[in-house]
């Protein structure tokens, strides 16, 4: 009899929060504490996520009532040369910025990880671009990359190079955009790499030294594998970051041709912005957003699968 009542009471709503009055009270406290942030996040970010699946399947200019049009937006997307151009530009930027940004920040981190004078001075200098706004950084770099009077062309002229119209030539315009992106990013990843380097146990290097390993061998067989989780994180973060490049395009092409001459600098986010907030095609722009999300998710999952081949995780609990 007694066990039966126990069983019943366990399943009564009263015991959902906990078995003792104290644990029930703590559970209520916990729920109350997490409620504001969780509800806020769900409202301001969860609802738009759900909503994007609705708007992407409608034709909507934001004023008239939306009309359900099934997969039409996605069909248009596949046959839209401008979308493919934007995708191409975005992928090019990913392919330029991710390897260069990662290798540069790794090299700087390794150099700064030595016992040198003025380490923190260099670290400060390299990190400085991270705290500037992308908007201000893009304006400054647009001025540097300016034709005729830009700093870069004048420096290059010293090497006998021609005056290049960096921002208006379709074959060059992605370079300035990539340069700002890398310039702003290197300091951030440098700090992550430095943190990763600090975590490599010194005993490994000492053991390798005693075994007579050369500097290159120590780098190749200790630093690289031990740093691979950090490298992986940085590659994932920078792919996601480069997929979303917007401010740089918006600012650097504003004076000449918005989005680059013939759309040569238009990235996916910039195209989404143009379609949604200049063209008023909310349904179509949402579909671009969903496509972006799907592609980024696919790339991230691919990277997660690939990581088993090259990322080394120490089997200690950290």
């Amino acid at each position: 009899m007694a066990t039966q009542t126990d069983l019943q009471s366990t399943w009564s709503p009263k015991y959902l929060l906990g078995r003792t009055p104290l644990s029930r009270r703590r559970a209520l406290w916990g729920l109350a504490l997490v409620a504001p942030n969780t509800l806020g996040l769900l409202f301001f970010f969860g609802i738009p996520v759900v909503l994007s699946f609705v708007t992407a399947f409608h034709e909507w200019n934001g004023i008239k009532p939306p009309i359900f049009n099934g997969l039409e937006n996605f069909q248009t997307l596949l046959n839209d040369p401008k979308f493919w151009q934007a995708l191409g530009n975005t992928l090019k930027l990913v392919l330029i910025t991710v390897p260069i940004g990662t290798l540069l920040s790794l090299s700087i981190a390794i150099l700064l990880n030595q016992r040198l004078h003025g380490r923190s001075f260099f670290r400060t200098l390299y990190f400085l671009p991270v705290v500037t706004s992308t908007v201000a950084a893009s304006i400054v770099w647009a001025w540097i990359f300016q034709a005729h009077y830009g700093l870069l062309n004048n420096l290059l002229a010293g090497f006998g190079l021609l005056d290049l119209n960096w921002l208006t030539r379709p074959d060059l315009v992605l370079i300035p955009i990539a340069v700002v992106t890398i310039w702003q990013r290197v300091g951030f990843y440098m700090i992550l790499f430095l943190a990763g380097l600090q975590n490599v146990p010194r005993s490994l290097y000492e053991a390798a030294l005693i075994d007579g390993a050369t500097r290159w061998q120590r780098f190749r067989y200790i630093t690289v594998p031990m740093l691979s989780p950090t490298t992986f994180l940085i590659v994932v973060l920078s792919v996601i970051g480069s997929f979303q490049i917007f401010d740089q395009v918006f600012i650097m092409t504003a004076r000449t041709a918005a989005g680059g001459v013939g759309g040569s600098a238009t990235t996916l986010s910039y195209y989404l912005y143009q379609k949604g907030f200049v063209g008023g095609e909310f349904g179509y722009a949402s579909a671009i957003g969903l496509a972006m999300f799907a592609m980024m998710l696919a790339v991230t999952i691919f990277q997660l699968r690939l990581q088993r081949r090259w990322v080394y995780y120490e089997s200690t609990d950290g």
Partner: protein, 298 residues
């Protein structure tokens, strides 16, 4: 390199100092490293120098070839005056950015420290599901939900209001994650002692947990401040009216006008960047701590 290969392969009796010394670079290598680092630092810093230099040149000097780094006629203040004449209301833009930044940071400080404390210290049904849900939101690129986010703000009647600039930014997954990690480091005994003395959870959080997490709070604050100060796309979409325009949009509008001279644009960029540069130089340690913490796995 040569030094380490020259040595015999095995020398088990090596003293630790000897091992450390062998790890060092030769003087020539050290100079090479310094050279590379200085070269890199010049490239990284050059845009700042060029920004300040151009911001202080009179318009007549801006397009002179060959260019000079030091202006012949320093005209910083004159350019500030001209900038204010050219832009619609630059002070207002700066003020709006400051309001948005302070609002978001205080908002996140409250919502995220409460939530982080809840997730770190309390058992309640659905805890891991809710936490996973929050982390899942971190995966969603903001651009992907830009349109529905705008529609949500519009249907709330918040377009061109400070509500739109502040409220959605007062919640954060990143801050929740960062603070939770910090709270988990605090010895449980300290909080238990306060509880035994009769403090309720809010009092424990306020008098014990938060004061012990000052470095993490500072790291959180500088990163949140920096992100809010530099925000562009979201304010551009929801609050691009004159009364709510933030400074990043303000300078981008100047940039969009073909006739705006570069010296004024550089002055605008300089003014918009300066507060963050000063904050960084003063609170460097916390910036770097915050970035390192964001990279810690799990």
């Amino acid at each position: 390199m040569a030094e380490s290969t020259r040595r015999p392969a095995r020398r088990l009796a090596d003293a630790p100092e000897q091992v450390a010394r062998r790890e060092e670079f030769s003087p020539a290598m050290r100079w090479l490293i310094y050279g590379i680092l200085i070269f890199g630092a010049i490239i990284m810093f050059l845009p700042f120098i060029w920004m300040v230099s151009s911001a202080c040149k009179p318009q007549a000097e801006i397009n002179i070839v060959p260019m000079t780094f030091i202006p012949q006629n320093v005209s910083c203040l004159q350019n500030v005056t001209e900038l204010y004449e050219n832009s619609e209301d630059f002070n207002r833009n700066l003020l709006n950015t400051a309001i948005m930044t302070i609002g978001r940071t205080l908002g996140q400080l409250i919502t995220c420290s409460l939530a982080a404390y809840g997730f770190a210290r309390f058992q309640f049904p659905g805890r891991s599901v809710l936490f996973a849900l929050c982390l899942g939101l971190l995966m969603i690129p903001f651009q992907a939900i830009l349109i529905p986010e705008y529609l949500l703000i519009r249907s709330l009647g918040w377009r061109n209001t400070f509500m739109a600039l502040i409220v959605p930014g007062a919640f954060s997954v990143f801050a929740l994650f960062l603070l939770r990690q910090a709270f988990l480091q605090i010895p449980l005994e300290l909080e238990e002692a306060a509880t035994i003395d009769g403090a309720n959870p809010l009092q424990v959080l306020w008098y014990v947990t938060l004061p012990l997490s000052i470095p993490a709070l500072a790291a959180f604050a500088v990163i949140t401040i920096q992100a809010a100060w530099n925000d562009f796309l979201y304010p551009l979409v929801v609050a691009n009216a004159e009364e709510t325009r933030v400074v990043t949009i303000g300078i981008s509008l100047l940039q969009g006008q073909r006739d705006t001279p570069w010296n004024l644009l550089m002055m605008g960029s300089l003014i918009a960047t300066l507060p963050m540069l000063v904050l960084f130089v003063l609170l460097q340690r916390y910036f770097i701590e915050g970035v390192s913490m964001s990279g810690v796995k799990r």
